[in-house]
């Protein structure tokens, strides 16, 4: 039996970065103080999130109703294993990205840094809010807040290009928001509630089949933050943003919020049984398979490193959703586990790309010949991340791929197994050239770069190390696999 424990901690975890945002705004004139607030908030936030972990590992959930916004529609938090998985990932990585951001922004002497840190803090609040939401309306609240607070980050440069990318970003995500709202309204109309439940919202099975399919499609459009293939265009466009933004938001917070929402909808609104009974899972599996393959091919064609990473993200995100729609315990484990794993690996990659921009002013792969000699640490970290992406032990990526393969195998679906293998090959095809160019090509002329500043270097080294650790010892007690197992047990009725 799952015990519900009432505690204000989830609210505090969300609010801490909001308060920090206000303080950042107030101390905009003193950069050290301003960034000090960010650090303090990041640590407190992580501490708060972690403090809830023991209870979750015991199999309990933590609930807190903030306010009843409308009759029957509370703003409420519910921390379960799946939620805390995402919350830990994003709040933990915030610490590193803060450090990295300081180095990056100061090195490039960027303008409007106060706005940058302010929006960053709000975005983090939103991400954790999404993770802890107890119902669709609360989730929608933070989902929209995340969109709005990241717009200034995407359009940070204020150049016409940045603004138009920002517009594109906004257009996609706002249409998604509207679509999500519509779906939520329909769910509420049929079931009278929007609260997530481990076995799906009761009453969903009463919805006629056609409506159900339309509803599912609307939800998935609503999850455009997850960058499914026809709705992915915002992600490469958003790469115009400063690299830390790409790193955190477009490898962790925003896109993961999208997949997180997709998974919440699939597992906690529709529920495993309904997905299976209605047969939606199979179509969705094929659909995301297309994204996995196509996005990898797109990635192959990019020369800009950040764009290549962006398409790689598009492809990897679909792994997560694929895992969820496989419905089997192994598939679910693989999908959920890929959320933190992909986050660690991808953020390493992005931070490396950012370091290259700061020190070498190089964005295109073809210009990076021999750069590893000047920046060995960065490029080694990059290699670690890339290996993880491809799925080579000992870096973390192989664990999730293994689970996904197991899931596909359980279903005896040769197509899906093939998809996973082909995509692994494609991943290798677009990452190895980068490594090859950086390590083995001779530079056109002599290079005189040094490594990036320490504030940037340390985070990327740490995340690279963690990527390896979670690959070597995935089943360490209290680590991600533990959490994921509880989450999977919850939704598959295993209950603890």
């Amino acid at each position: 039996m799952v015990t519900e424990i009432n505690s204000i901690t989830p609210l505090l975890a969300v609010l801490v970065s909001m308060i920090a945002a206000v303080l950042i705004l107030a101390s905009g004139k003193y950069p050290n103080l301003r960034e000090g607030w960010t650090f303090v908030a990041a640590f407190i936030k992580f501490g708060l999130v972690i403090s809830m972990l023991p209870l979750i590992l015991k199999g309990d959930v933590i609930t807190y109703t903030v306010v009843e916004m409308l009759p029957d529609i509370p703003i409420a938090f519910k921390v379960d294993a799946f939620g805390i998985l995402f919350a830990i990932t994003s709040s933990f990585l915030w610490i590193f990205v803060t450090s990295y951001s300081i180095g990056y922004m100061r090195s490039l002497n960027e303008h409007a840094q106060t706005r940058y840190f302010f929006c960053f803090a709000i975005a983090l609040s939103s991400a954790v809010g999404i993770a802890f939401s107890a119902n669709l309306v609360t989730l929608f609240l933070f989902y929209e807040l995340l969109t709005i607070s990241t717009y200034p980050l995407v359009a940070h440069n204020e150049t016409p290009e940045a603004i138009s990318s920002g517009r594109k970003y906004l257009t996609y995500l706002m249409i998604a928001g509207v679509s999500l709202l519509f779906a939520i309204v329909v769910v509420y109309h049929y079931t009278g509630t929007t609260e997530f439940s481990f076995s799906g919202i009761a009453g969903m099975d009463a919805i006629p089949q056609t409506t159900l399919v339309i509803l599912f499609v609307t939800f998935m459009i609503g999850c455009a933050k997850a960058a499914f293939m026809p709705l992915h265009a915002w992600l490469p466009a958003a790469m115009v943003a400063p690299t830390p933004v790409s790193a955190l938001l477009h490898a962790v917070a925003v896109v993961k919020a999208g997949v997180f929402t997709a998974l919440r909808v699939i597992l906690y609104v529709f529920g495993v049984d309904l997905m299976q009974d209605s047969g939606i899972w199979l179509y969705m599996a094929y659909f995301v398979s297309i994204t996995i393959i196509l996005a990898s091919i797109y990635a192959l064609m990019q020369d800009n490193l950040k764009k290549r990473l962006a398409y790689s993200t598009v492809s990897q995100l679909s792994y997560i959703v694929l895992g969820a729609v496989l419905i089997t315990p192994h598939g679910l484990t693989g999908g959920m586990l890929h959320i933190p794993y992909h986050a660690f690996m991808k953020i390493t990659l992005f931070m490396c790309a950012g370091a290259l921009i700061v020190t070498a002013q190089k964005e295109n792969i073809s210009e990076m010949k021999g750069i590893a000699r000047q920046m060995p640490i960065t490029m080694i970290a990059f290699t670690v991340g890339a290996l993880g992406m491809i799925g080579m032990p000992p870096v973390g990526g192989y664990v999730t791929k293994w689970f996904l393969l197991l899931g596909a195998a359980e279903l005896h679906s040769m197509i899906l197994i093939a998809v996973l293998l082909v995509s692994a090959v494609l991943n290798a095809a677009y990452f190895f050239p980068v490594i090859y160019v950086a390590f083995f090509k001779k530079p056109d002329h002599e290079l005189k770069y040094k490594e990036a500043p320490l504030t940037m270097l340390i985070p990327l080294v740490v995340t690279a190390i963690i990527s390896i650790v979670i690959g070597i010892w995935p089943d360490a007690p209290g680590m991600f696999l533990d959490i994921v197992e509880i989450a999977v047990a919850n939704v598959t009725g295993g209950g603890i």
Binding site: I148, R167, V185
Partner: protein
């Protein structure tokens, strides 16, 4: 509290009489000292706010208040009836008026130089008119106060942009006269068949004469008349000019209140004079209204995109937002009605805040072209933040008031099986994003070199305070919408639709 006990039973009438007396004493006050009228107005509005608040609390706690003017029993005398509906609307009026009155100090001094005293007299009389329209239970008394509010609105609008303001005011006057005359004619028709002027009495008598063509014609004339008054889409032609060219104070007041009271009157006449069954089923009036409102939502939003003058843009946005309110009413189901009524409050808060911001920006910079707003984010951070919050609320971002009413309206449309209205609502919020976001871009994302050397230069405190309060409320009621909904709007919707509960007596 002996004094209060004496006054307490008379609070309903004082809601109207206080601004009225304050209004016609203003010339004397201004004659004593030209700076006094502002303090006088703020004081009067504060008193009215307290009274209106007290009225609503009394209604919630102990039911409908009746006040027999002159001590005559209805239907022989005029009767004031405060139920949840008009208690609620009165409080909105009182609150917005109080906010705008604080705001008006500097703005009026600058935009209506040398005429502050009559301006404030007319200001107070406008509030009198709106209050009187809202609170009365007598159909002809309603007309009288309608005319007070209309005349004052004409005068206030004409004080704006030199030539444009006057022309806008004149066009409004012609349209308004047509509307008022239609309403007067409708009143005459109803009187001809019922022989009474008391709304509640009329509602009792009318069902017996529903087969009369006169009643149908009366309903039609009322609907057309009020549609002009609220600026419902095909009859909106007066609205954009009037809102654009009025002085900032008047724009905020009129945009925030006039159309709300018009919408209130429409609701009152449909459900408080005629019976719900008649307007919903027999004549399908609500259905027609819903479709017209849906059209207004789309057309208003689309036209708003095409504007470059911020006030004109807000005016078109008002046309669309009025559509929200009437769509909710027109859906004629519980949830839709709740959405419509909630939007009365929400739109008053948001639109008033936006117009106040537009006024503050104009006051400081003289700019109304939203393409010239570059760098304002640095120059006037508080003002622009208020703008951001109110605009996000208009878009319907959750956590702001705009979301709550949008939620109800969408849900109500689904409940009514009218999926197309859901799309209308959602499409309109996308269109809202389009026309508000380009302003955000201009305010905060101007080219860096252009905004380097801008100094902070905020609007005066008397302007900032009401704007900030409104913005805070936009967020507050976004999270705490439970209270208005639970205490006022839910019982009210039930009563209006005849599903139980009592509207008046």
């Amino acid at each position: 509290m002996i004094g209060f006990d004496l006054i307490a039973p008379h609070l309903p009438v004082l809601t109207v009489v206080v601004p009225l007396i304050a209004g016609f004493l203003t010339p004397i006050i201004g004659w004593i000292d030209r700076r006094l009228p502002w303090y006088w107005v703020v004081l009067a509005m504060f008193v009215v706010l307290l009274i209106a608040g007290n009225n609503l609390v009394t209604v919630i706690n102990s039911g409908t208040i009746q006040y027999k003017l002159g001590g005559w029993d209805p239907p022989f005398g005029i009767e004031y009836v405060i139920d949840l509906l008009n208690g609620f609307v009165c409080l909105i009026i009182a609150f917005i008026a109080f906010m705008v009155s604080i705001y008006s100090k500097e703005s009026v001094k600058k935009e209506v130089p040398g005429k502050t005293t009559p301006f404030y007299a007319v200001f107070l009389l406008l509030i009198t008119g709106l209050m009187g329209m809202t609170i009365t239970g007598d159909i002809f008394n309603f007309y009288v106060f309608l005319e007070i509010s209309s005349l004052t609105a004409y005068a206030l609008i004409a004080m704006g942009d030199r030539g444009d303001g006057v022309v806008a005011s004149f066009n409004y006057l012609i349209m308004g006269t047509v509307a008022a005359s239609f309403i007067l004619l409708g009143i005459g028709y109803l009187y001809a068949v019922t022989g009474t002027l008391n709304m509640a009495d009329m509602q009792n008598i009318l069902p017996g004469v529903y087969e009369s063509k006169v009643v149908l014609a009366a309903l039609a004339f009322f609907m057309v008349g009020f549609s002009i008054k609220v600026g419902l889409f095909p009859l909106h032609s007066w609205l954009p000019d009037a809102y654009t060219h009025a002085p900032s104070t008047a724009s905020a007041l009129i945009a925030g209140l006039m159309t709300k009271v018009g919408a209130y009157a429409m609701i009152r006449f449909m459900f408080g004079v005629f019976t719900p069954d008649f307007v919903i089923n027999t004549t399908q009036m609500t259905n027609i209204l819903a479709w017209a409102a849906a059209l207004a939502i789309i057309v208003g939003s689309v036209l708003a995109i095409a504007q470059s003058d911020i006030k004109r843009m807000l005016a078109y946005s008002s046309i669309s937002q009025i559509g929200y309110i009437l769509l909710g009413v027109g859906l004629a189901n519980m949830i839709g009605m709740e959405g419509g009524l909630l939007h009365l409050l929400n739109h008053a808060l948001m639109k008033c805040a936006l117009f106040l911001v537009a006024g503050a920006i104009f006051y400081k910079t003289g700019i109304r072209n939203l393409y010239q707003f570059k760098g304002l984010g640095k120059k006037m951070p508080v003002t622009t933040t208020v703008f951001l919050i109110a605009a996000l609320s208009m878009i319907g971002v959750p956590g702001t008031v705009g979301f709550t009413s949008k939620w109800y309206l969408a849900l109500g449309s689904v409940d009514a099986g009218q999926w197309i209205f859901v799309f209308v609502i959602l499409l309109s919020s996308l269109l809202n994003i389009v026309y508000f976001w380009r302003i955000f871009d201009n305010i905060w994302f101007g080219h860096p070199h252009e905004i380097e050397n801008i100094k902070r230069d905020e609007a005066p405190l008397t302007m900032l305070v009401p704007m900030v309060i409104l913005a805070v409320l936009c967020v507050f009621f976004g999270f705490f919408a439970y209270y208005p909904v639970h205490y006022v709007i839910e019982p009210l919707s039930e009563a209006l639709l005849g599903l139980g509960g009592v509207l008046s007596r």
